[in-house]
């Protein structure tokens, strides 16, 4: 299983802060899968982190990984 987490305003669209999904080979495939589940992601701004590291290109996802979808930060 892979844990997919959503933060900030993204949770307005997903309605949940995380979902468990079956294995997916890589981050591009996972992002596409999430866009099918949650069409609002097509027009959202977010970054994706795999196991706490920002993903800037397609990356292999190992079983048990955690993926985070994060909108622009607004702390402080």
């Amino acid at each position: 299983m892979i844990e997919v987490m959503f933060f900030g305003q993204l949770t307005d669209g997903t309605g949940v802060s995380s979902v468990m999904i079956e294995e997916v080979a890589n981050t591009d495939m996972l992002i596409n899968l999430m866009k099918q589940h949650y069409p609002f992601l097509e027009s959202s701004t977010y970054m994706v982190a795999l196991n706490n590291t920002m993903v800037t290109e397609n990356t292999i996802i190992r079983p048990g990984s955690k993926v985070a979808f994060m909108p622009p930060f607004s702390g402080g």
């Binding site: 305003q9 622009p72 930060f73 607004s74 702390g75 402080g76």
Partner: protein, 147 residues
């Protein structure tokens, strides 16, 4: 997996003035310090349309935020001659007028503390995965945007 020991910067609820006072008082024993610089973020009761912000609810990707903070700390200690640096960020609902961020730097000569504090605040706002949800009077809310 995580072996590096990271300081927790998050506390549930506001940063209290008494906590700040205690942090300051603790440094009296370090007589190599000549200057302290402190930044405090306070929740503003902005008007969003015709509704006032009553509070901000902060959430975070805590693990990633602590990683990011550890990197900021490392960079700032490498760049400035600091004696110490302390950071506290609130999570949960922080009411207008309450303190949600406390950055505290100390150094022998003032310039290092002042510059490090300011740089640390900018980096916290830009690099820490933290989100603020502005809770309006009545029912609504709006997600905070950092400039």
């Amino acid at each position: 997996m995580e072996t590096r020991k990271e300081k927790n910067i998050f506390t549930e609820g506001p940063v209290e003035a008494a906590f700040i006072a205690n942090s300051i008082a603790k440094h009296a024993t370090n007589t190599s310090i000549g200057g302290h610089s402190i930044f405090l973020g306070q929740v503003r009761a902005d008007m969003i349309g015709d509704k006032q912000v009553q509070a901000i609810e902060y959430t975070s990707h805590v693990e990633m935020a602590l990683d990011a903070m550890a990197k900021i700390r490392e960079d700032i200690f490498a760049k400035y001659e600091l004696t110490c640096m302390h950071v506290h960020h609130s999570l949960g609902v922080i009411k207008a007028g309450e303190i949600c961020l406390f950055v505290f730097t100390s150094s022998k000569h003032r310039k290092a503390a002042i510059d490090a504090c300011s740089e640390c605040v900018e980096r916290i706002k830009a690099e820490l995965p933290v989100w603020g949800k502005e809770i309006l009077e009545g029912e609504g809310y709006q997600w905070k945007i950092n400039h």
